[in-house]
Amino acid sequence: MNDLIRRYGVTITALMCLLVAFWLVMLVVVPNITLFEQSFRPYLPVVDVGGPKDFYSLRNYAKVFDGSIERSFFGIPYMIPVHVMTFGLTIWYSIVVTVACFALAYPLAFFMAKIANPKSLPTLLLLLFIPLWVSEVLRAFAWWIILAFKGPLNALLLAIGAIDEPVRWIVGYDGVVIGLTYAYVLFMLFPIYNAISSLDTNQIEAADDLGAPWWKIHLRVVLPYAKPGIASGCVMVFMLSAGSLLVPSILGSTTSQWFTQTIDQWFKDALDWNTASAYAFILLLLCTVFVSIALKVFNVKLSDIAK
């Protein structure tokens, strides 16, 4: 701090501190505290705010357990509250997306980092960056066209004889998983690619010379080394998927509901900002828990993720 003042003087240092304080206090901390505080208040008409009916309670959080529906698991029927189910399915399908992204991205990241001709690499990276620059809403829309009942995918599969009649792709969570995987796979690819490209190729060759089969080289040499990159990719993809509102809204069907959509409905349709706050806080909690677990499992620090 003294160093800063010596270099840039009191005025500029104070100005910089003020800017950082504005960001962290007014744009991050205070909004989240307000969200937390509002989530315990009931939704009231403006005249009643601050009146006797305005007291703290857990009622907004309890709404998660309203309205049960019957489901069955391996033939065993059970009752589950709708929002709890939405929440659970959101987590489950976000994990599916994360795993799918990893499975797609890892071989490619390895290929790009260790096998591909270094001269063609910048061109390759540029090609991969193009979809990233096209906005998410358009990428989801593109899949909406492709997966449509009378769309090109069905037409293509019918033409080559892979299927006999058109398939409904946008049913349940299928469309959402495909759309999210397409939208976020690059967030998995680049961190893993960065991690692997700093691995000394001699280590792979040494393992190869000592007779390790190719899968063992990956399991014992490449994967452990790429761990920070994998952690970073997994955290990013899971967070983006669980927090996505666009893709589930466009590629979702009547039988799929994403937790962010539930929040959106409380906020925009029911105009109940307090319950929306409670639900948003639950989502935030989930994300915090997930990141903490991921950091523990992969044994990396938060600052490593940011690379």
Binding site: R7, T34, F111, L126, L245, C287
Partner: protein, 288 residues
């Protein structure tokens, strides 16, 4: 065996590229199909009427203008805040640094939905509490800007911080010793060194802002940005006019990418020639 694996890897690479690019191609193609629904099958002939429909869509043009204004505002604010944060983080150490740094990074991981709702609630509640009708406290795109800056600034911070790490602080010492004022040290020494990172940060912020849906959706208060407008079109009454828009945006991206690639190749060639020249010169010297 090895050869086979190499070819398989190349094949996979190719398939992956097709997977990434094909949806964009399909979307662009549908812009030229004379069909009321956006699709490339069945093909009903070439038309340019969707481009006319797009230009005549006033709401889309307004949304486009709004998007640009928001994106520029976000880029400017995020660059200022992000650069200040990077300089501050770089000059402190210990517990405070860890705490501040973690806080800044964590903003990237907060779901956009949470940022949107919390920003909206804070500013409107503040307006209610003060009993003011001042525009800052009403829903609108200015709140979208604030919400977006709250996490985009962290991205700028990371980019600038990476460059700061290779900065030679001795340059500033020298300038101070030679009698430069504090403002001059900042403006003439530090900032010029950071310009590449600041430029990259500004570009990232600009594009992130255009992309943003979650924060904008909750804070916009009836105003449209392009993303919000396209979304509402896809949900209700979609026409290939959106594909025309998508095609133009993809073309802009492609042209920018092409310019970048040509420039990169030119630089690489110049570099290679220079190296070859140097090698020839040393060889000549040795021969003499």
């Amino acid at each position: 065996m090895h050869k086979l694996r190499m070819n398989l890897a190349r094949l996979y690479m190719g398939l992956f590229l097709v997977f990434m690019i094909a949806p964009l191609a399909v979307m662009s193609g549908a812009a030229f199909n004379d069909n009321r629904l956006p699709s490339i099958v069945p093909w009903k002939g070439w038309t340019s009427r969707w481009f006319e429909a797009m230009i005549n869509d006033d709401r889309m043009m307004v949304a486009f203008g709004n998007t640009l204004v928001v994106a520029v505002a976000v880029a400017v604010l995020a660059v200022i805040v992000g650069t200040a944060s990077a300089i501050l983080i770089n000059s402190i150490s210990g517990r405070v640094r860890t705490l501040l740094y973690s806080m800044m990074i964590s903003t990237i991981l907060i779901p956009g939905v949470v940022i949107g709702i919390s920003t909206m609630i804070l500013w409107t509640k503040m307006g209610n509490a003060m009993g003011t009708e001042f525009f800052l406290f009403n829903p609108g795109l200015h709140l979208s800007v604030l919400g977006q800056v709250s996490y985009i600034a962290a991205m700028v911070m990371l980019l600038v911080l990476a460059r700061l790490q290779s900065f030679d602080a001795g340059l500033e010492e020298a300038a101070l010793d030679l009698g430069a004022s504090h403002a001059q040290v900042l403006r003439r020494i530090l900032l010029p060194y950071l310009y590449p990172a600041i430029g990259a940060g500004g570009a990232v912020a600009f594009f992130q802002s255009i992309e943003n849906y979650n924060v904008t959706q909750f804070t916009r208060g009836g105003m449209d940005t392009l993303t919000v407008y396209v979304f509402s079109m896809v949900r209700s009454g979609v026409t290939p006019a959106i594909n025309a828009l998508a095609f133009l945006l993809i073309m802009v991206t492609l042209v920018l990418a092409l310019i970048y690639e040509i420039n990169r190749r030119r630089l690489a060639r110049v570099e290679a020639e220079r190296e070859a020249e140097a090698r020839r010169a040393t060889a000549l010297e040795e021969a003499i």
